[in-house]
Subunit: 360 residues, 2 copies
Amino acid sequence: MVINVDLGARSYCIVVECGALDTVGARLSALGVGSRAALVSDATILRLYGKTVTRSLEGAGLLVAPVEVPEGEAAKTLAVAERCWEALLAAGLDRTSTVLALGGGAVGDVAGFAAATYMRGVSCVQLPTTVLAQVDASIGGKTAIDHPKAKNLIGAFHQPRLVICDPATTLTLSRREFRSGLAEIVKHGIVLDAAYFAEVERDAPALSARELPALERIIGGSCRLKAAVVERDEREAELRHVLNYGHTIGHALEAVTGYARFAHGEAVSLGIVAEARLALRLGLASEQTVRRQEGLLAAVGLPVRAAGIDGEAVLAAIARDKKARDGRVPFVLAPEIGAFRLVYDVPRSEVLAALGELRP
Amino acid sequence: MVINVDLGARSYCIVVECGALDTVGARLSALGVGSRAALVSDATILRLYGKTVTRSLEGAGLLVAPVEVPEGEAAKTLAVAERCWEALLAAGLDRTSTVLALGGGAVGDVAGFAAATYMRGVSCVQLPTTVLAQVDASIGGKTAIDHPKAKNLIGAFHQPRLVICDPATTLTLSRREFRSGLAEIVKHGIVLDAAYFAEVERDAPALSARELPALERIIGGSCRLKAAVVERDEREAELRHVLNYGHTIGHALEAVTGYARFAHGEAVSLGIVAEARLALRLGLASEQTVRRQEGLLAAVGLPVRAAGIDGEAVLAAIARDKKARDGRVPFVLAPEIGAFRLVYDVPRSEVLAALGELRP
């Protein structure tokens, strides 16, 4: 499946296909980029897929310099970005060159940031290998590194030139990491497309069993939904907020637990449950709408309850949210499956009560 | 004079007016930005103009946090950018907030880079106080910091929301700093507009005497020319190369003399002389065209000859130019006043010979 993201001069396509990593070189050289490239990845991913990608790039006549970064969130530091800049310079990359990000969301974030800021921006190709990165992080041009005091504080919008998702790469993920990515898939269905949500409900067993045809279909569908949002609101003016469904509370849950207790998708799953219940409490959604969301999250193995959540701490973390505008944080709420609404000035007491409903 | 830079959603205006710093607050709040702002500047400039700007901003209901950075190029380091991010966070700036850059090109570059990367980009207002920054650096969205191995290596394109030039601020510049900025003015005339070039020739004495009406007229005219180029080529695809006239050799002269011997405009002046002679050598321009360029540069007090230039070293520095594309560096040459032409594959021997003509 090939999805076009129409952003004028910054348009690009997303390829979702088993085996697509073999086609990186041909697809990239068709874009008329310069001959030099850097392949940013971590040790594990380089061992698994580095050869395939490098062979494909070299086969298309590109010179590839590998740049190894730490695994996971540890890659998203200024020190690692600096090492990337240094490596790009040492490899002789110029403005026509390309930075390829092979790996999960963290690799995509730091490599994307390095590409966004090296010589005021060079081409970036995202080669996401996790479900989360394939359906979410690799699309839309958000790049970032963390600041000691706030995640993703430093970054840039820098659209990739090309995104290539090989769903087969998700077969090597741990069960927990795999499931974590499914939260974004469920989210896309809830706020954007009722038919897609129903498709995910139907495919939940095949998805959980990681059957490739189902993976390719569902991941492709999710990419298409995200791409449509990005097309209509490239820089998160308003519409793109919709993608923060489950994330206002989800991010806060991650922050108050030191990014250690929950995987991102687990926090988003709990965030979806709490925000669904918030919509119910505010009289915006029905019980049935809430039940379907929780049902699907549970069906794909994601948590829908969590003990020991400090509601006041979560509220304080929400107030520090990067999406706050002059102190106000909007909630994205789902009045029904396939619809959303931005709600400002939600009473603290209702948020606290919704968080209380997460107790097992 | 108000010049509109039409870049679709990223459009902005440039105000060129004596006393315009008093209007910053009113003009900024008319753009509907959030209430928080940071004023980035160096100690000298803050002492001279900090109060005026702060009073104007506070008068419009904005909360202003001053952020002091080192003077000159020393501001353009990653460490200073980090301190800026830290200060923006400490001052509670969110995505609706504004970073104002008050000062010369270096302040504009680092503050612009901090604004481009804080929370993936917040509004930036350029308040340039040098001739160089007013007619060149503040317009077009180029932001950058230096890398130990290459100037401006790390940066982003991030258009300002507003540019306010007060020509009266150039009265406090040293003679050398003032003249340095005039090189960009002469450059704009040479490659973009013969009538403007003639106007600068006519106004050269008034300009050198820093008479305010002449300053306002000439600076405004230069801003208009640069804005027109930026409108047609926001990201330096092709046309914007024209602004590098005199800079291919000028940058290399700065690099081989350790950024210590020449002020930027002095190096550009010598670069213009050498590139004018290169065009003559290649049979592209007449002697008369070369003579007018040298004549105007000399008339405003800029150097047109320099001893002890190592031609081979300059050639090597040109090859490392950030504008090299897969190893080729284009020269912008002026076949006549008011016109330009991109020339690839200029023979080394001709560049060496043109550099030789700089000898006194």
